[in-house]
Structure formats: structure tokens, C-alpha cells
């Protein structure tokens, strides 16, 4: 279409249009994300209990926070959980996507099977997992009934191992979705490139390592962002599966923050834990995002 009536205005509008389209999203982000973060930072320096108040207490909440053993447990747990969860999910998701991309018969059946766990709310699947992992009624009992008497799987009852059962359930829930993201990426790759490489004598392994996986780089970025988001926000999962137990062995920052803010009426401490969490996330994510985005710029 050629602009005929008011070329000047049209051109200028076209120049501004992209920014206008983006502006509402940006404004909303600034208010609802950064504004609220600022609010939380302020709260963390106040003596807020049940509802926010603005009685300044300085660094007191932070001092209390670091003196709590459960907070240290939560930090260690999130480090273990997030690392294992992100690595395993990405590996499993990528593997399934590549395998499913090999002209597999029954792909239409397998794909929803891999995906469905995301559809279910953990409010209840947590109970199913809890039972399955429970040595008295789940996997261990079934193995014993089948005659494998020495089989032992008591992780969920063991304070040192329970965190790994959360990794298992979390991988179960989201690896299928990661698979879908990689699959969408794989199917966006131009076959001509692959054919050209094959003619050059590249093996399948080389094909994937040298060409396909580098091309999937944006999908890796998405997967990483999604998985870290889920890892940090893993709340339902912990509550449903272990309730933070045995004892408080599976306390996580999200459960910690929720309980101090809402059930223990110590909103100031809850806010300070949120600030620490956000700072940690920023310390890890910002350099990563910076490197990722700068390269493409």
C-alpha cells in the first residue's frame, strides 16, 4: 500500500507505531514489577507484622533473617534444587525432542503423554507422588510384593535426601514442556542446512553438536528463563509433597517467604527474605541475560 493522502504524517506514525505498541507493556512492567519490588524493599526495613506499616527498623529484619537456621536450609536447598532441576529438565527435554523428531510413529500419542503433567495442579498430583514415594505404601512396598525384598527407597522420609524427591517430581512436571519448546525450535530449522552438512559427510552426532544445538540457542534461553522461574517459585510442589519436612529439611525460599509474610505475621522478615532472593536472582540472571542479549544486538 502506498501512502498518498498525508505521507508525512503516515511516515512519522509508522516510525512511532512500534514504540507505541510496546509502551503499554513497558509501563505495566515498570509499575507492577519494579514498583512492587521497590515497595518490598521499603517493607523490609519496617516492622510490618500482619499488615504493612511504615515504622522504620533499619537492618533489624535482615539480622533476624540470617540468624534463622531455616533460612540457611532454604538457601542450600534452592541451590541444590535449582541446579539439578534446570540441568536435568533441559537434558531430558532436549533428548526427548531430538528423539521425537526422528519420524517417530505414534508421536501424536507420546507428545501429550510427555506434556500432560503440566496440566495438572500440584495440589493433588502432590498427593499421588507422596504416596508413590512413601516406602510404606508406594514403590518400595510394590517392589517387596514382587519379591525384591532388599529394595529400599526411603528418600522422602530422610531429611538429607528428601530434597531430591522434589527434584524428581519437578522434572516430571515440566520436562515435557521443555521438550515442546525444543521441538518447536527443531521444527523451525531449515532442512537445507542439514542436508548440506550431510553432503559434507557430517555424522548425526556432529550434525546435532555443531549445527542443530547452536541453532537452538534461543530455545535454550527460553528454557533457562522458564526453568529458573519455576525453580524459584516452587511452592505448591514443596507444600504438597513434603510440607517442608521431614522436620524443616525441605524448606525453600518461596515457602519461607510465604510463611513469614502470611502465616507467621512477620511481614518485615518475609520482605527481607524476598529482597535477598531477588538480589540473588539478579546476580545470576543479569550477567547471563546481558551476555545472551548483547551477542545478538
Amino acid at each position: 500500500m502506498t501512502a498518498s493522502t498525508a505521507p508525512d504524517f503516515r511516515t512519522r506514525l509508522q516510525d512511532w507505531l512500534p514504540k507505541l505498541v510496546l509502551a503499554p507493556s513497558f509501563a505495566v512492567t515498570v509499575l507492577f514489577v519494579y514498583g512492587f519490588i521497590a515497595f518490598t524493599v521499603v517493607l523490609s526495613f519496617t516492622g510490618s507484622k500482619m499488615l504493612p506499616n511504615f515504622k522504620w527498623v533499619g537492618w533489624e529484619n535482615y539480622a533476624k533473617l540470617w540468624a534463622l537456621p531455616a533460612w540457611n536450609t532454604a538457601i542450600v536447598n534452592i541451590a541444590i534444587f535449582a541446579t539439578l532441576y534446570i540441568v536435568i529438565c533441559t537434558a531430558v527435554g532436549l533428548m526427548l525432542a531430538i528423539f521425537l523428531d526422528q519420524k517417530i510413529r505414534g508421536e501424536g500419542v507420546l507428545r501429550p503423554i510427555y506434556l500432560y503433567p503440566m496440566a495438572l495442579s500440584f495440589i493433588v498430583t502432590g498427593t499421588a507422588w507422596k504416596w508413590f514415594l512413601d516406602p510404606g505404601i508406594g514403590l518400595e512396598k510394590v517392589m517387596h510384593l514382587w519379591g525384591w525384598e532388599s529394595f529400599s527407597f526411603t528418600w522422602i522420609k530422610d531429611g538429607d535426601m528428601a530434597i531430591y524427591t522434589i527434584v524428581i517430581a519437578a522434572v516430571w512436571q515440566t520436562s515435557g514442556f521443555v521438550m515442546a519448546m525444543f521441538l518447536a525450535g527443531l521444527r523451525g530449522i531449515d532442512n537445507e542446512i542439514l542436508k548440506a552438512a550431510q553432503i559434507d559427510g557430517a555424522s548425526n552426532w556432529q550434525l546435532y553438536r555443531r549445527i542443530v544445538i547452536p541453532l537452538l540457542r534461543p530455545a535454550f534461553l527460553s528454557a533457562f528463563v522458564i526453568l529458573s522461574h519455576l525453580a524459584i517459585k516452587s511452592y505448591d510442589l514443596v507444600v504438597a509433597l513434603t510440607g517442608g519436612g521431614p522436620g524443616r529439611a525441605t524448606e525453600m525460599p518461596a515457602t519461607f517467604m510465604y510463611s513469614y509474610t502470611f502465616t507467621r505475621n512477620q511481614m518485615g522478615i518475609g520482605a527481607s527474605s524476598a529482597v535477598i532472593m531477588l538480589m540473588t536472582i539478579a546476580a545470576i540472571m543479569v550477567p547471563y541475560l546481558y551476555a545472551e542479549l548483547k551477542e545478538k544486538a
Binding site: 500482619m50 499488615l51 512413601d134 522422602i156 519436612g245 521431614p246 524443616r248 502470611f262 502465616t263
Partner: protein, 417 residues
């Protein structure tokens, strides 16, 4: 009311599906009695109100024994959209009253004479600054032990009344090849058991430690003994206890897989639902050494400030309906708890219920009716959860002995205050 425009638009869109508009003559009730018998029991209240022309807009939010509802409440109040009536427990009522958010029910309470029929220990929560702010629905008592009758008979011993007798029964059950104590490893369940132990050390001690939060009592020798008892009880629990729902622990007693469970009076519902008869299939006793004393928690309905006179009237209607003796009886028969008024007839209740009512009246007169620490009626939420931390850790064997646990308890409580 702010937000009326958005609300009307939405309500119009979904009118066919939901309860729809909240008229001024309605009460919008936030509660967590959302499933099974307890929700059905609450429906009695709804019907009673409807008879008097007061409508009911339901706002159920379950989860964590009211925790989710309290979170939703905070969002509602902050948004300037308070529900008219809210189910609440213990210190939450006091906290909201301190914020000045609750309506004054004193005129109704005086006219109806609530102060004469509600035990003083409950009034401590229903009133703030001399004013009535909430209407109590029930009293749950938490220091019960539920014993499988057959398993008890197999030990050849009578129902225990002291700690030593309890240990003897548990040992014998162990010999008989069953799990002596059915327990679910969740902090509140461990705290419920611990409530009983501390109360068995004497009412004065319970008061000093859990209500007055006296550091000497919390970290002292008696508390060390109490923790030793708790650690001893751990040895009668099977290895799979952690994370188990209390319902499944009850099921173990019902099936005869386990000998007994230490749990509040709501456990009775599980036994009844399984077709068991009190006295013949199972026995309900007070935690050994606590006969005559009761630790309780009480569900109450607090009213949030309203400006519209019609809404205020609806609130008064609701408060009256809650305190109606017939409703208190009907509701509590279903719920497994006992009425919050001591003048209600015990005719409709079963043996355990009658015993519960008699115990409550006795404890109330004797001054041995105490708020339960495990259920947020002894100390505010921050302290309660701090004690959970220590009790659970002690039960899971994280302290060398009772003494170390008691020291940790004193420290944790001091930090949470």
C-alpha cells in the same frame, strides 16, 4: 463500597453460575469449612439465616487450617473490599481487632447474655478491649487419645491415666506386634501431641510456659522432661510417619494396624465414618495425666466493619444465629466438637461428645481450660510457629536430649516475640 462498578459488571456476567450479587442484607462469609461434613454443617447456619431474611454469599478458601483464607482476607481488606463475616481462630481475632477492622457486637452480646454462657477462656479471644468482636461457634479440645479397643484389650491393661501407664500400654502393644502410636509427621500434629505432654506436667506449668511465655519455664527442667517424653513417644511410631496426613494415621488405628493416636476431637469423625462405635470399637480418653484439664481451640466468626446499616443488621442477625443453642448443638454434633456455650443440652451427642462437654464445663469452672499452643490459642502466630520448629526438630531427633531442646525452645520463643 469501592469497586462496585467492576463488581457489578462481573457479577452480571457470571450471575447464572455463582451466588451473584452481595446485597446489603446479605452476609458474605469467608471460611475454610469447604468440604464434606463440616461444610454441610455450616449449611445449617445458612438455612437458619435465610429463614430470617438474611442471604448468604459464600466465599470458601481452604488450605493449611485457615492459612490460605487469612492470606485472601489480607488481600481483600487491603483492596478495601472486606467480607462481612470471617471465620477466625484465636489470636487472628485479636490482631484484626487491634487494627480496628472489626465491628462491635457488644450491644447484641449484652442483650443475649453471652458473657454468662461462654467460658471465660474463650471470651479472652471473642472480646477486645472490653468489646465483643466475634461469635464463637465451637470448642475443639486437643488433648484426646483415640485407642483401638481390641488392641487395648489385647494388652490386658486398663486405659492409661498416667505417663507410666501410657508407656506400659505402648510397650505391650509393641510386643503384640503392632505400631503402638499412629502419628503423622507434620509440625502441627507433633505440636498437638506436645500440648498434651506439657499439660500433663500440670496446668500451672502449661500456663507459665505456653501462655505467659516465661523463659524460665520454657527452658527449665520440667520442659526438658516434657521433651524427653516426646522423644520417648517417637520410639513408638513407625518409620514412615513423616508427612502422613492425620486422617491416614486415624485409619491405622481404625484398621488395628496401630494402637492409638493422639489427636483433637475431630479425629472422631474418621472413626464414625468408618462405622466404628465409641466404647465398643474405640475408646476416647484424655491425654494421660490431663483429666480435668482441657486445651482448646475455638472457631469464631468475626464481623468486619460495615457502614451500611442494613449490612450491620445482617451481621447482628448472623451473630445471633451462631449463638443460637439449637444451632450450636446441631453444628457440633456433625463437626465432632462441642458447643461454645456451656448451657446447651448434651442429648444429641454421643459418648465422646458428652464427655467432651462435661470436661469443658469442669475445666472452665476449675480454671484449667487453656488455649492450645499447637492450634494458635496460647500465643501469637510468630511464637506458635517458632515452637513448631523446635518441637518438630526434637521429634525428628535433632537434639541430643530434652534439655537441649528446652534451651532451644526458650531461645526460639524469645527471638519470635
Amino acid at each position: 463500597m469501592r469497586g462496585i462498578f467492576g463488581k457489578t459488571m462481573t457479577a452480571a456476567a457470571v450471575l447464572a453460575l455463582t451466588t451473584g450479587f452481595a446485597r446489603a442484607t446479605d452476609v458474605e462469609v469467608l471460611h475454610w469449612w469447604t468440604s464434606g461434613g463440616e461444610a454441610a454443617a455450616l449449611n445449617v447456619l445458612k438455612d437458619n439465616l435465610a429463614g430470617g431474611g438474611t442471604g448468604w454469599v459464600d466465599m470458601p478458601v481452604a488450605g493449611g487450617g485457615g492459612e490460605a483464607a487469612m492470606t485472601a482476607l489480607r488481600a481483600r481488606v487491603t483492596a478495601g473490599d472486606s467480607p462481612t463475616a470471617v471465620q477466625m481462630l484465636g489470636f487472628d481475632i485479636q490482631d484484626w481487632a487491634a487494627e480496628g477492622a472489626l465491628a462491635d457486637l457488644t450491644a447484641t452480646a449484652q442483650a443475649e447474655g453471652w458473657d454468662k454462657v461462654v467460658p471465660a477462656a474463650l471470651q479472652k479471644f471473642s472480646t477486645y478491649d472490653g468489646k465483643w468482636v466475634a461469635a464463637p461457634v465451637n470448642v475443639h479440645s486437643t488433648n484426646w487419645v483415640w485407642i483401638n479397643k481390641a488392641a487395648l484389650d489385647a494388652t490386658g491393661l486398663p486405659a492409661p491415666t498416667t505417663w507410666d501407664e501410657l508407656v506400659a500400654v505402648l510397650d505391650k502393644m509393641k510386643e503384640n506386634g503392632i505400631t503402638p502410636l499412629a502419628h503423622g509427621g507434620q509440625p502441627w500434629q507433633e505440636a498437638t501431641v506436645f500440648d498434651g505432654i506439657v499439660l500433663s506436667m500440670g496446668g500451672d506449668f502449661y500456663q507459665k510456659a505456653f501462655v505467659d511465655l516465661d523463659p524460665a519455664a520454657l527452658g527449665g527442667e520440667q520442659m526438658a522432661t516434657a521433651f524427653d517424653h516426646l522423644i520417648k513417644l517417637r520410639s513408638y511410631v513407625d518409620d514412615n510417619f513423616s508427612g502422613r496426613d492425620w486422617n491416614l494415621a486415624s485409619a491405622m488405628v481404625i484398621n488395628g494396624e496401630a494402637g492409638m493416636q493422639m489427636m483433637g476431637d475431630w479425629a472422631k469423625g474418621e472413626f464414625l465414618k468408618a462405622g466404628k462405635v465409641p466404647g465398643t470399637d474405640f475408646v476416647c480418653i484424655r491425654f494421660p495425666g490431663t483429666q480435668g484439664a482441657v486445651t482448646f481451640n475455638s472457631d469464631q466468626f468475626a464481623m468486619f466493619n460495615q457502614t451500611d446499616p442494613a449490612a450491620q443488621e445482617a451481621q447482628v442477625n448472623m451473630a445471633k444465629a451462631i449463638m443460637d443453642p439449637a444451632f450450636q448443638s446441631a453444628f457440633n454434633v456433625v463437626k465432632g466438637s462441642v458447643p461454645a456455650r456451656t448451657d446447651v443440652s448434651n442429648e444429641a451427642f454421643d459418648d465422646c461428645g458428652k464427655k467432651g462437654m462435661a470436661d469443658l464445663a469442669e475445666a472452665s469452672t476449675a480454671g484449667t481450660l487453656f488455649g492450645s499452643m499447637a492450634h494458635g490459642h496460647a500465643a501469637p502466630a510468630s511464637v506458635k510457629n517458632a515452637t513448631y520448629d523446635v518441637i518438630t526438630a526434637a521429634f525428628n531427633g535433632e537434639y541430643a536430649d530434652g534439655k537441649a531442646a528446652a534451651a532451644a525452645l526458650a531461645e526460639a520463643v524469645a527471638a519470635a516475640q
